[in-house]
Symmetry: C2
Subunit: 397 residues, 2 copies
């Protein structure tokens, strides 16, 4: 079989599985999740062995230490992954929820109800826990999922897939085993079989998928988050938020990458920033608007006022998360209204852009797109809806 | 300037206009809509003159009569178009609505609020009223719009655009005047400037746009709607629904294209169907599953039971609108749950799939996609949301 035929056959099987999944009760889906958690524990040795082989090969091939680290399924990460599956089982099921009902003068009654999307294709890179996290979220929401991981994690992913399969979920969770990139192209062009593709990886992967895609893609390019410190800010609060947003976890997408300072405040505040940067090992940059460092680096610019800050952000941010620090309610309201990003903060660190922190229970990613889902994507964002219309022989006049 | 440069410049202007539009109050937007309605009336002669020129050229070029009809802006259609703008002004504004608020244990307060999408690109075919309808819906929801019509309607669209421009809406509504197809390609690839593309036309246009697109596309391929008549149906009701769904307006996407009859009922019901077809001039077909006739033709098939009907529909429909006629509540529930279409009906004609009939006030189209919008798309579907997060110096632990 060609790669195209293999993927097509998997997609056909996923479509059939999705019809079954859509009919499953919440408790049946939760039982399946708990069975997966048990199966992972039962297969722990095979999974760790496969991961050790992947890690050894990666080191041989001279993979960067950061990549090798991401690839490694430590005992703590393994346990967290299994606990994650059980946590998803404990969350409320959004499927079946009635969003609204309406009686119309024509005599029809309309119910808008939440249903699974259908078949989801997820392409991810080296972190093997993504396979299990994603499978659990899709299963919980009644979606079939086809996963394609990075080639360096193939043995680990195969072992994880075997464990999941042993839990009896049939074709609900399928792993693409070929490392041929044509598989990804075929997946994102499978109109009528795949309903949405979700890349979980770097910008290059995302761009390649969007370029090839005929099915919708839910994506997050990058996180270039801004902190604007207004001249009416509490300086201690501003420094605390800056410190948290930049240094608490610099490698993540909701970390701050650019500090904007009101020019009137700069003579007072910049020395504080410089002292903080020296203390925390942060490097301050200038004229690097739009850069995603993911490290202890931050771009700094002065702006004339809140309006200039808003314009700077809308021109240079990745529309992910931005914050204003001010005690002026009017300026805060203007910033919240006019900044065109998924999450806009007033006197709160940007690090809160996260499904867990937002009370979603779990997260499949953060969308910087505006359609379907924007910001953290939890279980609800893995669903769509349909209209159920009932009446007593009603016809249109 | 090349076509690419022209489109890029229009998109940059639309992006700037969208920032202004997002800040406009509902009453300012409604005033702009009423000014457009007045301007259309003031420019009626120029618009009708331009349309007459388009129609004359279309006839000269031997355009099909149905196409010439679609292109013609009769006085009645002109009045309906202007009344439509005033109607949109009278509708509630979804922008600014709080979808939910949440206080989190961390001390942050989250508000999920409805906001405009930003810049919308609409590509349509020969009906010139689409230009005004779309402009009104986008303006009402605070979106800037770039419209590209069919080349046969170019003079009409230019006259309509001039009237809209005279109402003082700046770059909120822009018409692409070039007929070069490269303009469409550039529009749907303008990531960061165009937020979504909406094709309003035939399947070929939609496929071409999806093939080229890097921005999300909201679309509706076709309407292949099914009526399943169960053996526990009221036969008079079944015939009435079939008649309404097939003959009331056969050329539209929510008209029935396929009748499924329970095999036990067929000996009794098929003679009634044949008599009805003869009476109404409907041609019955066999073995043409999945065909969109848009005429007085319908495919007919027998199925073993409701499960077979569901499977037939999920395999052959366009996932638009389907109906079960039955007095059996359990079978109805099974059909409503398992048919994977935007609108699923029980004892109601499929002709109700419509923004007006659903109480949305207006409609920009019907989506057969599952992401962002499914089924009729009204004003709410032209919006997205953002999260506003406030606190008192809250940082992540």
């Amino acid at each position: 079989m060609t790669v195209q035929e293999t993927i097509h056959e998997m997609a056909v099987r996923a479509r059939a599985a999705s019809a079954e999944l859509a009919r499953m009760t919440t408790s049946a889906k939760n039982d399946a999740l708990l069975a997966i958690a048990k199966a992972l524990e039962a297969h722990a040795d095979e999974i760790r062995g496969a991961n050790a082989a992947d890690v050894a090969r990666a080191k041989e091939n001279g993979l960067a230490p950061a990549m090798v680290d991401r690839l490694t399924l430590t005992p703590a990460r393994f346990d967290a992954m299994v606990a994650g599956v059980r946590h998803v089982a404990s969350l409320p099921d959004p499927v079946g929820e009635t969003i609204w009902t309406r009686e119309r003068p024509s005599g029809i009654e309309i119910r808008k109800v939440r249903v699974p999307i259908g078949v989801i294709a997820v392409v991810f890179e080296s972190r093997p826990n993504v396979f299990i996290d994603t499978a659990a979220l899709c299963l919980k929401t009644g979606n079939a999922v086809i996963l394609r991981g990075g080639k360096e994690a193939l043995e680990t992913n195969k072992a994880l897939a075997a464990a999941v399969k042993s839990a009896g979920v049939g074709d609900a969770v399928q792993l693409v085993e070929t490392t041929d990139h044509a598989a990804v192209t075929e997946l994102v062009r499978a109109v009528g079989l795949v309903d949405v593709a979700i890349p979980r990886g770097g910008e290059r992967l995302i761009r390649a998928m969007c370029e090839a895609a005929l099915v919708p893609v839910l994506k997050h390019y990058k996180g270039v988050c801004h902190i604007y410190v207004d001249d009416k800010a509490d300086l201690a609060m501003a420094l605390s938020i800056l410190d948290n947003a930049k240094t608490q976890r610099p490698g993540v997408c909701n970390a701050a990458e650019c500090l904007l300072v009101h020019e009137k405040l700069a003579p007072l505040f910049m020395p504080m920033v410089e002292a903080w940067a020296k203390d925390k090992g942060v490097t301050l940059h200038e004229n690097e608007a739009g850069t995603e460092y993911l490290s202890l680096d931050i771009n700094v610019a002065k702006v004339a006022d809140v309006r200039a800050a808003i314009d700077f952000i809308n021109a240079n941010s990745s529309h992910h998360s931005e914050c204003i620090v001010t005690n002026d309610a009017e300026r805060a309201a203007e910033f919240l209204r006019d900044v065109d990003s998924a999450c806009v903060y007033h006197n709160v660190s940007t690090r809160f852009t996260d499904g867990g922190e937002f009370g979603m229970g779990a997260e499949i990613g953060i969308s910087t797109d505006k359609l379907h889902a924007r910001g953290p994507m939890g279980l609800e964002e893995l669903t769509t809806y349909k209209y159920l219309v009932t009446g007593d022989g009603v016809i249109r006049k």
